[in-house]
Subunit: 315 residues, 2 copies
């Protein structure tokens, strides 16, 4: 399958590290050293996962698609920080594009959700039940975070990304999706309790940061290597690594352990914070003008649950 | 694909209509006449969508599967009333069965979610990425409802259902899934705002009950007819209709408009209330001992968003 267009939306409101020094005493240096984050964006009054998803999709449509929007026949939304679990972000997109009677579904596998959405699309394409899809991922972490929490309150940012995908190649600028791998990892470490978002029981919590760190590094390194090998490539062939934007130290650990140059890993955590399942999508979108013919790009994710995934994209 | 086993779990706590007479003045007669509901079950302290999903899966395993549980290679969970959007019900099932590195994802399309889950499984089977799956749907409406709401507080019940599904036939007692249809209907009526569950903005609300009623009847009737016709059957061939358990008047409207005998429609709303995306699954499970060789069964659903779907099962 092929990515025809990517777009993203980030809210205007900037929350610098200085905000936390006043709030709970965490200094800029302390946050920066441990996470790489200088500032993050926050949704404002009236914004939520549905509105941000819609903005990302609108930006994609405005940037131009190689087909009419009425040809979309599948919408898959992804979020773990939902505004509405019934009128979901995917339904809001259907209402916007006004295409009736197509499958519309929303998904959560925590910070891995983007690739679960992509793999669900791959399944619809394989069945012949769809051939052009929108995947939209959107996170409103600040709706559920406790910003005074010294463990994780400073990590979270808000934002959204939209992918327009087709079964067949639509234009010369399409990106080829060569393989998608996803996996649950609820069987290891702190598994289902390493990270939690319980809407009626404390919101987002990450009580086992070290366990998350260790497993994120291990799984994202392994699956990056696996997906390259599966497709006959080595680590030297990798042009860009687009990891889940959880923590700059995780990305650095992965590039170091794989022997990759630090520049290979794309990153936006410095100015967006951890935007959950939208982070890697936003990073892929931010750099879409830079990819060159022949580039091999791996999006690699890890999230609560635990969950992981990788997607090999060839330009 | 084939359904090898179905199971369900309902919590012990019974909430009779008399509860509401004390609470907000709605009488037993008033509720019964408008909804068909006499009583509903409610999750108790320590129960949630994850624990109820796990109980349903355990019951299925205990009842016997035609393969070892370690052969499961896909888990799809469904809920719009999540306990944890990160450590989801699907991840809890993976942790329980201890099968590593398989796709694990949770889904919401409101009360239609069961069939979206089934169609996602169909996609994984078509790709060859899985051949044995668990679909588990679980709702904890009482976590998000406002029980004093005279519009909808009396409707909601809690419960879960689990389906064990394989690509190839596993035993003579398997049910054959002949077709699955799903569709978003965000383009009609009150669409994304007809029903809402906004965890941080009021919980479950159904401000446009009449619009929901009209569209539920129209879509469930149409898609039931469509799926039978698609497969060369007429309405006379239908052995059982298993509608989403929203309101007994909706089910009666559908059987009437299709000219079906009222007995064809299976129902549990009288004693379980509206158990969301679990309702039709629980009903299908409750009656699994009654289906005879050659029976044609249609599960048909409609939910907020809006969303709809139908599944034709042949015994």
């Amino acid at each position: 399958m092929f990515i025809n267009r990517v777009a993203h939306y980030i809210p205007d409101l900037v929350i610098p590290n200085a905000h936390f020094e006043k709030l709970n005493g965490l200094t800029n240096d302390w946050i920066l050293e441990r996470t790489g984050i200088s500032e993050r964006r926050r949704a404002t009054e009236g914004e939520n996962t549905n509105t941000m998803a819609l903005e990302a999709v609108k930006k994609g449509i405005e940037a131009g698609l190689p087909y009419d929007i009425s040809e979309i026949n599948l919408i898959v939304g992804g979020t773990y920080s939902p505004y509405d679990t019934v009128g979901t972000l995917a339904h809001v997109i259907q209402a916007h594009i006004q295409v009736a009677d197509i499958p519309v579904v929303s998904v959560s596998s925590a910070c891995s959700t983007l690739l679960n959405c992509m793999e669900i699309v791959e399944g619809y394409f394989a069945m012949g039940k769809a051939d052009k899809a929108i995947v939209v991922v959107s996170e409103h972490n600040s709706l559920y975070h406790n910003e005074t929490d010294p463990m994780a309150g400073h990590l979270w940012g808000d934002g959204a990304a939209a992918f327009f995908i087709s079964k067949e190649k639509q234009s010369e600028t399409d990106f080829n999706v060569s393989q998608i791998i996803t996996g649950g990892a609820a069987t290891v470490g702190k598994g289902t309790e390493g990270v939690m978002l319980r809407p009626r029981d404390g919101g987002i919590n990450m009580p086992f940061g070290k366990d998350v760190f260790i497993n994120a590094c291990a799984y994202m390194s392994k699956v990056t290597k696996d997906i390259l090998e599966n497709n006959g490539y080595s680590l030297n062939d990798l042009s860009y690594l687009v990891p889940h934007q959880a923590n700059l130290r995780i990305s650095k650990n992965i590039t170091e352990s794989l022997g990759l140059s630090e520049n290979v890993a794309l990153s936006n955590i410095e100015y967006l914070g951890n935007t959950g399942c939208a982070g890697a999508g936003i990073a892929f979108s931010e750099h879409q003008g830079e990819y060159k013919k022949g580039d091999k790009i791996v999006l690699v994710v890890f999230g609560g649950g635990y969950s992981y995934g990788a997607m090999l994209v060839e330009v």
